[in-house]
């Protein structure tokens, strides 16, 4: 629905209200509650033709040890995940550069105290190459790392896998960007 401009005194109908609630800019798709002592979490069937671009928020949990949480799209394996960026410890002026090609992208630096990740993902379902950006903060440091996935395979979901140790608790929420 196109953006509508209401005028003074105009009646806001139930139909208009419901339409705007359903077609807000960032639309909830699905969520998962992370279990206890899991080394990987798969969120399936969250990408479709309904949306082209997505945002994934990972928050509220703890890790058994500090580790990098990898994100791999369903059906896209091999070293096609290209990522670069930097990370930096809180309180330190030293910035560490990162560049790598792997079988997943770093979605989050997880700590035993608290962490949060914000993953922007473009075209996961479309038969196009995928791009995105991960920004994460833990009690240790912050990461800012754009990525490019050299694959045109359509993905319907994703798996998060710890680099070491396990995760307990927290949520993964997937939102889609409204197209029109």
């Amino acid at each position: 629905m196109a953006i509508k401009t209401f005028t003074t005194g105009e009646v806001l109908t139930a139909a208009d209200t419901n339409t705007y609630l359903a077609n807000s800019g960032l639309v909830y798709v699905t969520s998962a509650t992370i279990g206890t002592a899991v080394s990987s979490v798969t969120v399936s069937n969250c990408f479709s033709a309904t949306y082209d671009h997505y945002r994934i928020i990972i928050s509220g949990g703890v890790a058994s040890t500090q580790n990098n949480l990898g994100l791999q799209l369903s059906g896209i394996t091999g070293s096609v995940y290209n990522q670069l960026g930097y990370y930096q410890l809180w309180g330190s002026s030293t910035r560490f550069d990162y560049a790598g090609t792997s079988t997943n992208v770093i979605a989050c630096d997880c700590s035993a105290t608290a962490y949060i990740a914000d993953v922007e993902l473009k075209n996961p379902f479309a038969s196009l190459r995928k791009f995105g950006n991960t920004m994460s903060q833990s009690t240790n440091n912050q990461y800012s790392m754009p990525f490019y996935i050299n694959s045109t395979t359509s993905a319907t979901g994703f798996t998060l896998t710890t680099g070491s140790g396990t995760l307990t608790g927290g949520t993964i929420i997937v939102y889609g960007y409204r197209k029109a």
């Binding site: 509650t33 206890t36 002592a37 798969t42 399936s44 058994s64 040890t65 500090q66 560490f96």
Partner: protein, 40 residues
């Protein structure tokens, strides 16, 4: 615990021996239980 859990959507279960071996083959470790605030 001998193997970590694996989660598929809302289902959480312990990894099978085959799944655990595949995970170890990626270089995965249990890690240290304490946390040192250093970049990784």
């Amino acid at each position: 615990m001998t193997r970590p859990n694996i989660q598929m959507d809302d289902e959480v279960r312990e990894m099978t021996e085959e799944e655990y071996e595949a995970l170890l083959a990626t270089g995965w470790t249990w890690g240290e239980p304490d946390e040192t605030p250093t970049a990784d």
